[in-house]
Symmetry: C2
Subunit: 396 residues, 2 copies
DNA sequence: TAAGTTTGTCTAGTGAATAAACAAAGATGA
DNA sequence: TCATCTTTGTTTATTCACTAGACAAACTTA
């Protein structure tokens, strides 16, 4: 969380300390009041009073006693992850993945809806149906559905409008407004790569890292930037269009208007187009991987070529950001065995030593759930935040 | 400023509010206590007491009374920019620029030392001499020299070690340690582009912008990133090596080991090399500009070509960061009349509309002082920060 | 069983902010 | 000119969150 210039008073102190206590419980549960006091540096009495408020708000639970360490046995505290639920959605190009998660980001219900017609009306109906289904089937809880979030493969403004979703053929869809109007709940709309980055940071392979870049490699390439532990969105939310970074000056023209864009050479689309040229009929990533597994040299070399181009872009990313991790996600990740070595080889050969030494290349740990869990994390974070705010507001 | 997880208590509240009051005075001086209370939202009494402490610490001054707005005339408060001085240095490849600044970043003394031998011992002697000169000639003040900072064209660790300064031929120079040992003062060592970015943000063309990218175009290209209003340095401080971003896959080999690096095509070095190929003898940026001014078509087209290549890289930057400003600094900036149109043309043609619409391309307002004033800004910020800390510490 | 340890609560005290009263200094208008 | 209104800045009483330390409860160890 960032703090802009603001005035500080005891309300803020309490709010921040309460957040700190809750955060400590989330991260280290089960944990006793005494241990929280030790870790945070807060006084035991302060922790006691904040914990008792959190208990009143049903955000945490007491769970019996823990092991004695030579004295009175501690009362262990747990996050009450069943206090509310999120509805989190990954809106893809051919399907919608919808999940209901608890407040710890655990998936309770999962549902997929395929679609062939990407007309807005059609997709919207599927979307509403999925959300309605989740609302109906969510367990009863203290706070109910605490928010709905959607990850979208497109350019999203900070106001939650889809400016452009090229692979869906959508322009200027005020999705956030539509969902707010219909459901009267907190709504989060986020770019699919941004959400994926946050998902991996919160629940995936990036949990210990504050500087990570998530490359969503699918039909195109989108990138989510976690810098200083926070999602970086740029001035209006359009950061991470690294798929349209030129890696061949005056190379092939991209539909975006630019030339030599990275995603023309390193995306799933590039892979499948080149596979066709090599004589594969109706290739898919899966079919090409199968070809590799049965020893097809053409397929293996094709993946190496794509991996090499991915490596060129990732080398750029390493030079630009000096990240700790670069994570490959989305549909291309399943080819990791065939592309990762090529990526690493290119980085090894081309990246500057200082930057190269720090960085780890990983595949998304959450597989196809990166985006949906990132969305859940945004919603959960927003819930705890506004929940605190409103409690402060009503107390005043 | 970022706040990591920490406990909050009234000491912190006071510290932050005092910082807020001081910051308000710096930004809006001359200003009355009453106006500060209005702007910050703090109570009049709180402001009064914090202001009186700042007066005691000689960090601010009262300056007579202002105009009445229908009642008692206000007592105006000013920053006491003469409470201390910084020594700020831009360590270049052929010269050292040293300045003494007050706490508002105003240059009091400026001195340049040319050198031809870039041997560490020789440069170090020049550096020490310049610093000693500034110390001797600084006006007496409450806090004296509050810190020394050096901007270096190279890779600097967060610990202030120069890992590599290619154009000086230096490796592993523990500059911070050397200066700390010698001067026993707060020392800041920072990459020249990072400092330039901060200089333009604090005192230059970027004062109203929180998302800006500063491209230092000289022999090579280095980039400083201001994201969310803060300098972004990456995991170990090596961000912004965008000069070594590939814009021609498998293009010319760069001395960094990578291929097709941006700075091979868009730097001063590229300009001068190509000028030689075009028949210019001993070309310099200045001589080439003069050629342009007397209508030399070759020179004009050369700058256009360099500008075009700069535009390719800047288009990438725009796609990656969605910045509000891109600022061209360092030696190439004086050719603005001949490169900026080409840069803008390339952006206009190639950048994605959403990102393109927001961005402004500027030339560094501080000219050759961007780096040195950025260094000063770091030192000043550090002074106010540690000054507050220590006051809190001694009060406790 | 006694002594020591750990946990969690309670109480008194501290310090920083706020609200409100107040004094000082000027503006305004009959 | 003088009474009234405005604005500025200080002072005072009050509030609130945290801290230190006392204390009771619960457990371990010898």
């Amino acid at each position: 969380m960032k703090n802009v210039s603001q005035t500080w008073n005891q309300h803020v102190v309490k709010k921040e300390n309460k957040a700190l206590v809750l955060d400590t419980i989330i991260k280290r549960a089960p944990i006793s009041r005494a241990t929280i006091a030790q870790i945070t540096g807060l006084n035991k009495g302060t922790v006691s009073s904040l914990v008792s408020e959190l208990l009143d708000e049903k955000l945490i639970n007491e769970s019996g006693t823990g092991e004695s360490s030579g004295g009175r046995r501690p009362v262990m505290l747990l996050l009450n992850e069943k206090a509310g639920y999120t509805i989190s959605i990954d809106l893809g190009v051919t399907q919608i993945l919808a999940v209901l998660t608890d407040l710890r980001g655990t998936i309770i219900i999962e549902k997929v809806q395929q679609f062939e017609n990407d007309n807005l009306d059609v997709v919207q109906t599927h979307l509403y149906n999925l959300i309605d289904y989740m609302i109906t089937h969510a367990p009863t809880s203290e706070y109910g559905i605490v928010g709905i979030g959607v990850g979208v493969p497109g350019v999203i403004t900070t106001e939650g409008e889809i400016l452009l979703a090229p692979n869906l053929g959508w322009k200027k869809v005020p999705l956030k407004q539509m969902l707010v109007d219909r459901y009267k709940l907190p709504i989060i709309i986020e770019n699919e790569a941004n959400a994926g980055a946050y998902g991996e940071k919160m629940y995936g392979v990036g949990q210990l890292s504050n500087e990570l870049i998530y490359a969503s490699v699918s039909i195109g390439i989108g990138v989510g930037l976690i810098l200083d532990g926070n999602l970086y969105k740029g001035l209006r939310g359009f950061s991470g269009e690294i798929g349209h970074m030129t890696i061949e000056k005056d190379g092939r023209v991209c539909r975006c208007g630019n030339k030599g864009c990275w995603e023309l050479y390193a995306s799933e689309k590039a892979l499948l187009e080149q596979a066709k040229e090599l004589g594969f009929t109706h290739p898919t990533i899966t079919s090409l991987i199968e070809a590799c597994e049965s020893g097809n040299e053409k397929a293996i070399r094709l993946f190496e070529k794509i991996g090499d181009y991915l490596g060129v872009g990732i080398t750029n990313i390493i030079h630009i950001f000096n990240p700790e991790q670069v994570i490959i996600g989305n549909s291309m990740q399943i080819a990791d065995a065939y592309i990762i070595p090529a990526i690493k080889k290119r980085i090894e050969q081309n990246a500057i030593g200082f930057n190269k030494d720090d960085v780890h290349i990983h595949v998304a740990k959450l597989k196809h759930h990166s985006t949906v869990l990132g969305i859940a994390a945004f919603t959960i974070e927003n819930f705890y935040l506004t929940n605190r705010e409103s409690i402060i507001a009503t107390t005043e």
